[in-house]
């Protein structure tokens, strides 16, 4: 039997305020190295599922397994810091910091020295094509550049998994194409597993596999 890098089993998530059943029993398996797109209408539970898979939130019932081990038994902060990179639709960069400083933020949870943190952040920014923008405050970057900083930050601690919630949702088609190319190249380079929530057919087309959600359930695989 194949060992899945990430596996969700009978996941439900009910939000007490408003009594919303965002997930109503979702099982999902993700193979190491694959790229997966999750599609579905707004409010269908995509973000909720991604948060459960990334250990940002706990399921009401069911369990998520990382490399066969239940997340409930892991140090969840360390899991997020070392195994995962997050990319968000609205980038979530820190506006008071420069690009290179933003990329270093996750590295405070690593054992790297200050110098090593800086060098690694510089080389990651170089890798996403932003070597000339490293000292800019992120508020002064274009949206395409911001998402590339966020992608560099997601790679800060050499994770195995990238979780991206509508990574191109705020980008025009030109920038979307560039970010998709970048993600594909980085996945190749670093052997990453990629899970993307998206509305975009182009993004979905770039994935190995597409999952469609409706009303808190997966309706195809």
């Amino acid at each position: 039997m194949t060992e899945f890098i990430l596996r969700g089993e009978a996941l439900t998530r009910t939000f007490p305020d408003g009594d919303v059943r965002a997930l109503r029993g979702v099982s999902i398996q993700v193979q190491a190295g694959e790229s997966l797109a999750i599609m579905g209408a707004s409010g269908s539970g995509k973000t909720t599922l991604l948060h459960l898979l990334g250990g940002l939130d706990r399921p009401t019932s069911g369990e998520v397994f990382f490399e066969g081990k239940p997340l409930a038994g892991l140090n969840i902060d360390a899991f997020r810091a070392r195994q995962l990179g997050f990319v968000f639709q609205s980038f979530h960069l820190i506006g008071t910091l420069s690009a290179v400083e933003n990329v270093q933020i996750p590295m405070f949870e690593s054992d790297l020295s200050r110098k090593a943190r800086e060098n690694r952040a510089l080389s990651l920014l170089d890798d996403v094509g932003l070597a000339h923008r490293v000292n800019q405050r992120t508020t002064r970057l274009s949206v395409g550049e911001r998402q590339r900083v966020a992608i560099a930050r997601a790679l800060a601690n050499q994770p195995k998994l990238i979780l991206a919630d509508e990574p191109t949702g705020n980008l025009d088609s030109q920038n979307q194409a560039e970010v998709l190319t970048l993600l594909a190249r980085l996945r190749q380079q670093h052997g990453l597993t990629l899970i993307m929530v998206t509305h975009s057919p182009e993004v979905a087309a770039s994935a190995d596999r597409v999952i469609i959600m409706k009303d808190g359930l997966i309706v195809n695989t």
Binding site: H51, G54, L56, D57, D77, A78, F79, R80, A81, R82, L84, F86, F88, S90, H92, I94, G95, T96, L97, V100, E101, Q104, I105, P106, F108, E109, R114, R117, E118, R153, N157
Partner: protein, 375 residues
């Protein structure tokens, strides 16, 4: 990037609020430093009066808090002199006078017996000291002479009587330097207190040893009913004015701590509230709770330290402004002792913790999803 660089960026990111918070803290810290400095200077100044004269014990009426309100008959001096262990003794009458033209109130006027031990430690800067047989003459303390604009040979009107200034003196005590000295019988006459003194200063045979001084005090109290005979150090610590100035300093510190920590709390609660999304992001990226705690508490400590630095500057300036007032000049030492800056530092640390801990704990307990949804 250092962790501290991130904290600094957060402070610089909201310059106006950082500035206002630091100013608020600085004013509170400076007020405490100045008032504590005055209270300590006051006490040190009193403490300095007696050792220089070789005075070991003070005898005043029992049950009073302040030497100025003591009242004893000058004749009991001979009884006290007869107590074994007493080396020497001198009566002293203290009162306060005003010089309204110079805007000076509560100037210490001391009536002493010429050539008594009270004159020890007095440096004559100009003119001469008092002699037996002197009449309406007075010695002015250096600071009082300055404030009145009087010099040796000038005439001075004290409570309606005219005195000749025969000398200018200086002692270790800022308090005495702001006052004047005259023959005891002149002050008695002027104040209508013939035969009365406020107290006696006593030099002991065995002056070094605190135990035997206390024993000597007990023997004097046993021999002369109605008096309190205290070693000078204890006497001064019990003085009402010193206790008052100290409790004022303490009260100011309490108020400054409350106001300062509320201000700090307000600033840091706002900072955490504004940055809910950012803190959620940090948690999402795997920052452990203790690191978030350190980030927020670090910012509070940064503000507190800036408050101490600016507050010390304010205190330095404030004490010099205070010295422009003639009333303060007599007993305020412009040199704040280093321990006062230590008090400022401790206050800054306490304020940082009082105001920063709750917001930091709040921030550390944020869940990443609830925080990220804020935008």
């Amino acid at each position: 990037m250092r962790f501290s660089t991130y904290i600094l960026r957060n402070m610089l990111g909201r310059r106006a609020r950082t500035t206002l918070t630091v100013l608020g803290l600085a004013v509170g810290i400076a007020a405490v430093m100045v008032l504590t400095g005055i209270a300590w200077g006051f006490e040190r100044s009193f403490q300095a009066i007696y050792p220089a004269k070789g005075v070991d014990l003070i005898v005043v009426r029992a049950g009073i808090g302040n030497q100025l309100s003591s009242n004893l008959n000058v004749n009991i001096g001979e009884t006290i002199r007869g107590v074994s262990g007493v080396l020497d003794l001198a009566p002293s009458l203290m009162d306060t006078v005003s010089f309204e033209d110079a805007n000076l109130v509560a100037v210490l006027a001391s009536g002493w017996v010429p050539e008594s031990i009270l004159f020890r430690g007095l440096r004559i800067l100009d003119g001469r000291t008092l002699k037996t047989g002197d009449g309406r003459v007075t010695l002015l303390g250096r600071v009082l002479a300055l404030n009145l604009g009087k010099k040796m040979g000038d005439m001075l009107s004290v409570a309606g009587e005219t005195f000749e200034v025969v000398g200018i003196f200086e002692t270790e005590s800022l308090f005495e330097n702001g006052g004047l000295i005259m023959p005891i019988q002149e002050l008695q006459k002027m104040m209508g207190r013939g035969g009365q003194v406020t107290g006696f200063v006593v030099a002991a045979v065995n002056s070094g040893d605190a135990e035997s001084l206390r024993a000597l005090g007990k023997r004097i109290e046993a021999k002369v009913p109605g008096v309190a005979a205290l070693p000078t150090r204890e006497y001064i610590a019990a003085d009402l004015q010193i206790r008052l100035s100290k409790s004022m300093a303490w009260a100011t510190m309490a108020v400054a701590l409350v106001l300062g920590s509320v201000g700090m709390l307000n600033t840091m609660v706002m900072a955490v509230f504004e940055r809910t999304g950012e803190i959620g992001l940090l948690r999402a990226l795997g920052w452990r709770r203790s690191r978030i705690l350190a980030l927020i508490l670090g910012e509070a400590i940064g503000l507190g330290l800036l408050g101490v630095v600016v507050g010390s500057a304010f205190a330095w300036i404030g004490i010099r402004l205070l010295l422009l007032s003639p009333n303060a000049r007599g007993f305020v030492d412009p040199q704040l002792p280093p321990s006062i800056y230590g008090i400022g530092l401790v206050m800054g640390a306490v304020l940082s913790l009082l105001g920063g801990l709750y917001p930091a704990i709040r921030a550390a307990s944020l869940e990443p999803t609830e925080a990220l949804r804020h935008d």
